[in-house]
Amino acid sequence: MSSSDSPGSPTLAHTPLHRLHVELGAKMVPFAGYAMPVNYPSGILKEHVQTRTHAGLFDVSHMGQIHVGGSAAARALESLMPMDISNLQVDRQRYGLLTNQVGGILDDLMITRTADHFCLVVNASRKAEDFAYLRQHLLPACTVEQRTDLALLALQGPEAAKVMARLAPAATRLNFMMSVSTAMVGVQCLITRSGYTGEDGFEISAPNSHAETLARALLEQPEVAPIGLGARDSLRLEAGLCLYGHDIDLNTTPVEANLTWALAKSRQDGFPGAAVISEQMKNGASRRRVGIRPQGPLPLREGSVLLNEAQTTIGKITSGGFGASVDGPIAMGYVETAWTTLGAQLHATVRGKSIPCQIVKLPFIQHRYFRN
């Protein structure tokens, strides 16, 4: 048996929960410069189902937390993003994109407004670039701080709120995409009601020094089990959510990525790539990100080419795997606009075999965000 999966091991950074992961028997792999748990002894499938049926705890401390402050911060951030940041209320969170001059995506992020600053959560693989870029464009008008002193935990799943009711009751009063600064088992945290699984859930930003205390308190709850990056990936894929560097990158625009819902109608210009993005908003893009269901049991993987009946290449898979909750293979990818109709029949070639697949609606599972 041989596998293409062979991670090298240069010097890897550790999150504050490293010791706990090892103690829990996690299989640690290199990810964005960190040693991260890909799965615990129960394995990816069980962890996936655990999160969809009960609650899962994820260590996402490898992600970047950048705080932007100053009275000009909202306008300054708007100069870099096709979002309305000025109208984001205190204690509210929004999904955002940093775009480049040609309308490509530098990174996708979550932005929360607190009483005195904006808290950005950016991708681990992009955090160094993002931090330099934000400093370059926002200093000296704003303050830009990389908060390496903060850890980030995510508690996701239909029973997450029940757990939070015991440990941080203030968080259960939040709706989806709201935040609160509150104490959790004696530790001051910034908690948002959001996540990357399609489930109800919370993300908890807390000092590194107390991350392990919080994680252990959460794992003591009967509803909660630790979940690794493997299930995090299959959960977000089922939820139709993009993974930076795969489904979106410098060469995909928000319109191509089917992220127009995240763009502010009020923002036609004044951000990088506005001309390209506005033009695509009006006239459409030549390709679009779609959901893809392979027929049969074989998962399609990133990089697989999609063909039409005439054997012409019309697209490519950008994320693919097995959806444990839909009990079959699922994928996302980009296809030429003419082939993005729901139900369109395409095929991929895997090891010389033609695999029929169909364009389907995203997400693959129903989102269960909490909106009271």
């Binding site: 048996m1 041989s2 596998s3 999966d5 394995g43 493997g230 299959s234 049991p297 074989l298 993987r301």
Partner: protein, 123 residues
């Protein structure tokens, strides 16, 4: 008395007479994670040692099984197509992949015995 041999590709072959039963080791299933797809060889087909016989996909990656010795496939564990998870649950037992009629028994000599394989995995 059946003998069991291992390859450096983390497969096992249990030899009974001139037939070998082939599967992947516990180490292999652990490394791959939960299997979600198994593609078995055609019965009757001949494979040379080291060539690709079967394909598996786990939640993480695709991998192939290479013939540990040359021979013709005589039987496959068809239940794996419906239940690939059997390989994770019982890799050395119910999770066997196929039986092969060995054409060159001398090829077995170069494979690892249980002790040598255990040492190889520890490295």
């Amino acid at each position: 008395m059946p003998t069991i041999k291992f390859t450096q590709d983390h497969e096992w072959i249990r030899v009974e007479g001139d037939t070998g039963i082939v599967g992947i080791t516990d180490f292999a299933q652990e490394e791959l994670g939960d299997l979600v797809y198994v593609e078995l060889p055609e019965i009757g087909k001949h494979f040379s040692q080291g060539t690709e016989v079967a394909v598996i996909e786990s939640v993480k990656a695709a991998a192939d099984l290479k013939a540990p010795v040359s021979g013709a496939v005589t039987e496959v564990n068809a239940s794996l197509t419906e239940e690939p998870g059997k390989v994770n649950a019982d890799p050395m037992g119910a999770g066997w992949f196929y039986k092969i009629k060995i054409t060159a028994a001398s090829e077995l000599d170069a494979l690892l015995d249980e002790t040598a394989y255990a040492a190889f995995v520890k490295k």
